[in-house]
């Protein structure tokens, strides 16, 4: 396509993106304004900017933000590390063994990809109740590991197929057992896949709302995402404070996104776009 006016396309593209950005701009710029100014002129730049909203969130007497942050970090780290290791091991054995039962396990796992959380949340809470893990951190981690395992395995299975068997055979000749072969030969080769899986699951678990809401709280406190939900009353008027809470709650994900943009885009759309 030849554009006759060379500056028209960039100008138009920027304009459209600008309109798309408005909600993000509103949420960001109003963190630094007193709430009265937010309602009066939501689009104006803060003059002068104030850090009062951020301060208010960080020093809340109920510690909603700090407790939430600790919970989110623990839940996310534990869930994604356990899921990644388990999925890599399972994918490796299932692909390599090729027996009828591994094909059956793979088929079951793939059906697990489509199941909406709302469908299984009731039986899950029943089971957790029965084993005494309801409203505990280990319980929530367990639910996440179970829910995200199929996705992680799918990514790893595609990758394992691309690893030449000779490497494993060589390790076996040198006397390495199954575990040693996996840890020292296979797992390091799976690094790109692990990066994708960790990023993907990290974003998902951090942003998850339903599972922590029902499984984690109220006993063990809750995550920042549930904290955001709790901080908006039925008649939310304190816009500045709410936007500040959201900015602080999203900060870890945002920082990682800005640092590893390419990985994020590849990870979150990964595999999907390989024809």
């Amino acid at each position: 396509m030849k554009t006759r006016i060379p500056w028209l396309r960039p100008l138009f593209a920027t304009g459209v993106a600008g309109v798309f950005c408005l909600p993000l701009y509103v949420a960001l710029v109003n963190v630094f304004k007193p709430s009265a100014d937010v309602v009066a002129s939501p689009l104006a730049l803060p003059a002068p900017p104030t850090l009062e909203n951020l301060q208010q969130v960080l020093t809340r007497p109920d510690g909603l933000y700090w407790y939430g942050l600790v919970n989110s970090l623990m839940l996310t780290a534990a869930s994604i590390l356990i899921t990644t290791v388990l999925a890599a091991m399972a994918a490796y054995r299932l692909v390599r063994s090729g027996r009828w039962w591994s094909r059956a396990v793979i088929a079951v796992m793939l059906t697990g990809l489509m199941i909406p959380p709302a469908v299984i949340i009731l039986p899950v809470t029943r089971i957790l109740d029965a084993v005494g893990l309801m409203h505990t951190m280990p319980g929530a981690v367990l639910v996440n590991v179970g829910y995200y395992l199929p996705f992680a395995m799918l990514v790893f299975m595609g990758f394992v197929r691309s690893i030449p068997r000779e490497l494993e055979e060589a390790a076996a000749v040198d006397g390495a057992g199954l575990f040693r072969t996996f840890w020292q030969v296979v797992f390091p080769l799976l690094r790109p896949a692990s990066a994708s899986v960790l990023i993907f699951l990290g974003v998902w678990v951090w942003n998850d709302f339903l599972t922590p809401l029902l499984v984690l709280g109220p006993g063990a406190g809750n995550t920042v995402t549930v904290g955001i939900f709790r901080s908006i009353g039925p008649y939310q008027q304190d816009f500045g404070a709410v936007f500040a809470f959201m900015l602080l709650a999203t900060l870890p994900v945002l920082v990682l996104y800005l640092a590893f943009q390419k990985h994020f885009v590849r990870g979150l759309t990964g595999g999907a776009t390989k024809g």
């Binding site: 396509m1 396309r9 960039p10 138009f12 593209a13 920027t14 459209v16 993106a17 798309f20 950005c21 909600p23 993000l24 509103v26 949420a27 937010v38 309602v39 009066a40 939501p42 689009l43 489509m114 199941i115 909406p116 959380p117 709302a118 469908v119 299984i120 949340i121 009731l122 039986p123 974003v203 951090w206 942003n207 998850d208 709302f209 339903l210 029902l214 995402t225 955001i228 939900f229 908006i232 939310q236 008027q237 816009f239 709410v242 936007f243 959201m246 709650a249 999203t250 994900v253 945002l254 996104y257 943009q261 994020f264 885009v265 979150l268 759309t269 999907a272 776009t273 024809g275």
Partner: protein, 256 residues
């Protein structure tokens, strides 16, 4: 399949009664219908806008790669964050209406409280969040089209529209499949947005979706038997819808 309640620990097997109750239940039919409407709007709009923006950002250059990241940013935000931003803007006394009032509009609409707008507002907020994903998938699809094909077409005197119809669009079939299936699955399980934006209202289920209805019935109304039947129906619908769509779209890919 039991008539269990939290207050009554003894259960009895009631067979398919819960399913029969549900099929006659006005509220559940409503939430099923809401879910279908949201899904159709999200799939159509996100695909159309996503493709248009991908075509716009196809060129190489620093500006375009910056704009790509701009569109992708909402994808990494949590649905709760996006919904709270949406609610702040669209609430009755929200930032949009306060701006409208100051511009002299007397009675601005209740974007989230008026039944004739609420469902579309929710769908719009979902489209806004998922758009970046669709753009990235379409851009990857566009990058996979051999340049020679399009050059050959323009040498043969094809106009831009003919080029798009004959080459670009058919070559994007896999991208369309991925986007449609992903968007379908995501809109079918929508819960967070409803919880934050409308809590199922206006009324009892103006915007309630199946997922929202399942959780509400199971945990707020303490009717786990009925909720399980809903979940069963939801699972069957999701399975049939996604498998059918996948089959149809992949057949289309194979015909190229």
């Amino acid at each position: 399949m039991t008539d269990e309640r939290a207050t009554r620990p003894k259960t009895s097997f009631v067979g398919l009664d819960n399913y029969r109750l549900l099929i006659q239940d006005e509220g559940f039919r409503h939430s099923l219908w809401n879910t279908v409407i949201i899904t159709v709007i999200v799939v159509l709009l996100t695909n159309v806008l996503g493709l248009a923006i991908a075509l716009l950002l196809r060129k190489q250059g620093r500006l375009y790669s910056l704009l790509r990241s701009v569109y992708f940013t909402p994808v990494i935000l949590s649905a709760v964050v996006v919904s709270v931003i949406g609610r702040s803007i669209l609430a009755d006394k929200g930032l949009l209406n306060s701006t409208l009032v100051s511009m002299g509009v007397d009675n601005p609409p209740g974007w989230l409280t008026d039944p004739s707008y609420a469902l579309y507002s929710v769908s719009g907020i979902m489209v806004w969040q998922m758009l970046g994903f669709a753009v990235v998938v379409y851009l990857a699809g566009l990058a996979g089209i051999p340049v020679e094909l399009e050059e050959a077409a323009s040498l043969d005197g094809a106009g831009p529209w003919q080029q798009f119809r004959a080459i670009t669009w058919p070559m994007l079939a896999p991208a369309l499949t991925i986007n449609t299936v992903m968007l379908m699955i995501s809109s079918f399980k929508i819960y967070d947005q409803i919880a934050v934006l409308t809590n199922g209202g206006p009324g009892t289920d103006g915007t309630a979706t199946v997922a929202f209805d399942v959780v509400r019935t199971a945990f707020s109304e303490q009717r786990p038997g009925v909720a399980s039947a809903m979940a069963g129906i939801m699972l069957v619908v999701v399975a049939i819808a996604s498998v059918t769509t996948l089959r149809l779209l992949q057949r289309r890919e194979a015909n190229l």
